[in-house]
Symmetry: D3
Subunit: 198 residues, 6 copies
């Protein structure tokens, strides 16, 4: 079974991937660049010479060290942003158009409680850092939302992909025990195509 794709546009460091409550900046700006020659990397990104920064940089690369990013999510009718986490960022979503069901689940210690809502247009909803959450377009028109995320690189772990499409696959012993599924079902799931939301 598939789900209708959603269009997920990260309006931020488009070339980067993951985040947290980031370390503070130690200068006004630090526009991300790659240091192709040295072959080494740093926590975050290298910065280009401050004197070479331009206004255009502040649409993407200028987010480096600034602790936030923004995403645009377009939902076709019935489409799902499947259960996932942002390990290093809280997400606050605002509904601009349409009707979506949103929810998150707390940790084991808070009994895996589901908080769920259908926000009105213009409402926001918060998905606390690290918790599993999802959004589903339950209307019959397109829906549009924007999300702020509290890191330049919030990262994304789509649960189904991480569990059933890991490279290399997680051992069948682990998955059958963890999810109480027959090995045949696990094999079947690992053979499916899992939509890439990255």
């Amino acid at each position: 079974m598939k789900f209708l794709p959603i269009s997920f546009l990260i309006l931020a460091l488009a070339t980067a991937t993951a985040l947290a409550y980031d370390p503070s900046p130690l200068q006004d700006i630090c526009v991300a660049t790659d240091d192709l020659e040295s072959g080494v990397f740093v926590n975050g990104k290298f910065c280009k010479d401050l004197k070479q920064a331009t206004a255009d940089d502040f649409q993407f690369l200028g987010l480096n060290t600034l602790g936030i990013s923004m995403a645009r999510i377009d939902f076709a009718p019935g489409s799902l942003n499947p259960p996932h986490t942002h390990p290093r960022g809280t997400e606050v979503l605002v509904v601009v158009e349409g009707t979506i069901l949103v929810g998150f689940v707390t940790s084991d210690q808070l009994n895996n409680t589901l908080f769920t809502k259908v926000p009105y247009k213009g409402d926001v909803f918060v998905f606390p850092i690290g918790l599993i959450h999802f959004q589903l377009n339950i209307g019959n028109t397109y829906a549009l939302a924007f999300s702020g995320l509290s890191s330049q690189n919030p990262r994304l772990i789509t649960i189904a992909n991480a569990v059933f499409e890991a490279k290399a696959p997680i051992s069948a012993d682990v998955l059958t025990k963890a999810f109480q599924l027959d090995k045949k079902v696990v094999d079947y799931l690992e053979a499916q195509f899992w939509y890439d939301n990255n």
Copy 2:
């Protein structure tokens, strides 16, 4: 001289005001509440009992400890979000409708350089933490933008208000020297009405 008002709705901790790269949360959620009895306060907000949290909390009060907030900015034609800072948060704005001029100025050490742009609809622009920035609707239709801010309480310092409408007023000696204005002009400015963007 006045400017056309903008409508500025903080889609977040509506009862609070200002922020930074906030301290990390030490539990899943910490829904803000006031402790009316004790008469003391804490850095941030007290939290209500976790067991009493509801989904509705995650439109506003549930942002407590989660390090982010969202604002909606409606611009009437020609209206201005005047030069201001968010001392404790970076802002990333996305243009949803209309045509706005945005810009920020760097610190003295970077020569007070102005970075300015007219983003296309759907573009984002970043205003680094603590720097003076503004937005002006240069079109002849309404404009709409959403901004993510990297703190639950980014605070707002509108420069004109802080300088010319401080309570009590800043000494004339300071303002005349600082802004190279005659005392009469300073007195005049301190007598004006300054639009409250709070």
Copy 3:
């Protein structure tokens, strides 16, 4: 299908649950206590009067504000610590006895790559903050490991529990689409008993 239980003892704030790169302490010690009267809570825990601290506090409650905890994990032969995350802490595990298979999966952006190993006795292995990981006793004797976690309250999200045992259950629409399972299978899974690792 079940898995053999493991014994999982949190050698730390036994009354609390999970954390991250915690805010710094602003005094030497801050032994956790509950403020039963005020009915409010704070980010983290209240502290008791410093003068009342005793050496015994530093086995559990004295961890408050100190940014770390320790867990002991006993594995019966064949038992599994199922795929889970610690949203707010990195875990470093040392194998003291036995033979366990360990692994973690990176985020979508790093292609959900599995890093897996069978450490020798005395070796350590690191599970980066927020990533899905697991341990499985692949030997035929008991295994023992200790884990340090980089927060006083690392929290625990067991993936299977959070997805299939949420209270209230996550909508079938979401789960069938997310995991490409028939509704019958989803219903079946939601009806199972999921071992409580808390």
Copy 4:
């Protein structure tokens, strides 16, 4: 109108400019150096080889990663340290000689309240991070103060310079509306010489 210059000596990373509650150091010392060859930069500064550090480094460059700096401020009679902010650092000033008027203004949300005082010799006064503040020598002798700042690179935004001397100039539309001034006055101000406190 001009103001008598003050002498403002940053007793710290003299070659650098800006700050915050800085990221923690991950080693004892990290003496700042420039990496002239790579053409890239990092958040903060590169460090030289630890083995090459000398005691002299700990007058300036050794402040790198250490989260603090110190400034000396000499005030000629009547001179002003004009309204400015340090976006990334709190400042604590101690009056060593003379009589100065000090003050800061809170954010809009706290009604732009002015806190002002004439400290006695030996007293300190705190200017919270990100708020507009100033000092004025109201005596007829020289005054001397030292300030600690809670970042290796606090940055400085002099309000008048940032608003009226931005490069390129901020649009007249913005400034006339923001400050309720005639365009002629704005043009006049933009043509003035603004003392460089950097």
Copy 5:
């Protein structure tokens, strides 16, 4: 043997004691107060009602949450600020009068290297966070210095006091082995008066 006392005035949260790279503030100001009734404490200090803050608060109690403090050190001729650490703050000292010898020792991993200097009047010297350091007045006149510390509550551990004047005393077994001293010498030292620099 005694040392000539120094006069050590903490120009900051006079009622508090110790620090770090502190958690960020979540509002403009948070003037410290004690909550006498509840009998509980928090990491840091409770704050009084913002509306009751006055300018006088910003000489001491207003430092709460602001991440910095200032100390004044008066040295009689020959007096010593004995080897000590500030566990949670870097110290930057400026010499205002006199001639003092300053120094710090790096960690074991950097071979306990001593960095030492006699700064000129007006010079600064940095003592990195957590390292053992000292100052000695080597002139024959009074010396005066001011120190900024990167925390509201840097704490102070005077090595001699902590080792030889702990309450209760550290076991003789530990001290004789640690310092390679006879038990008689250890007993003798534990019986001495150790000057209180607190």
Copy 6:
């Protein structure tokens, strides 16, 4: 006088030395590497190309940016881990075998109070960040403990080494006054061999 050596194995970034509540990671992993060519360093470590990471990296070098480390401590009968601090990390120790006396001393402001205990096998004990602490094997068999430390590089300052074996030696004036010892005793101590726990 000597003490029986302990075997102290850092089960972590074996090539590095010191730490704190570390800055957050801005990507999933950042395996430490040296950049031999550039001759410069960064706060922490450079990272190798993410695509070249292997599972083996997560025994040591993969700890880079992940905010924790683990140590194994083997105690011969009667051996001592002498009074020391970890400037940038809290330590939580678990006793696996044997009988050890543990303790720490608070700061001057908390009156250098000693908290001491003989934990049972399986118990933990916490040594708060930056405070002087020690462990002594008081049994007549080998003891074994593991410690988690809340930083990738906690650093180690062995008090006796830092004070009496600094390179170059701390001035006799300082040590005689600080420790109330005759110069002969100081000279004697500085000539001893101090066991290297690094």
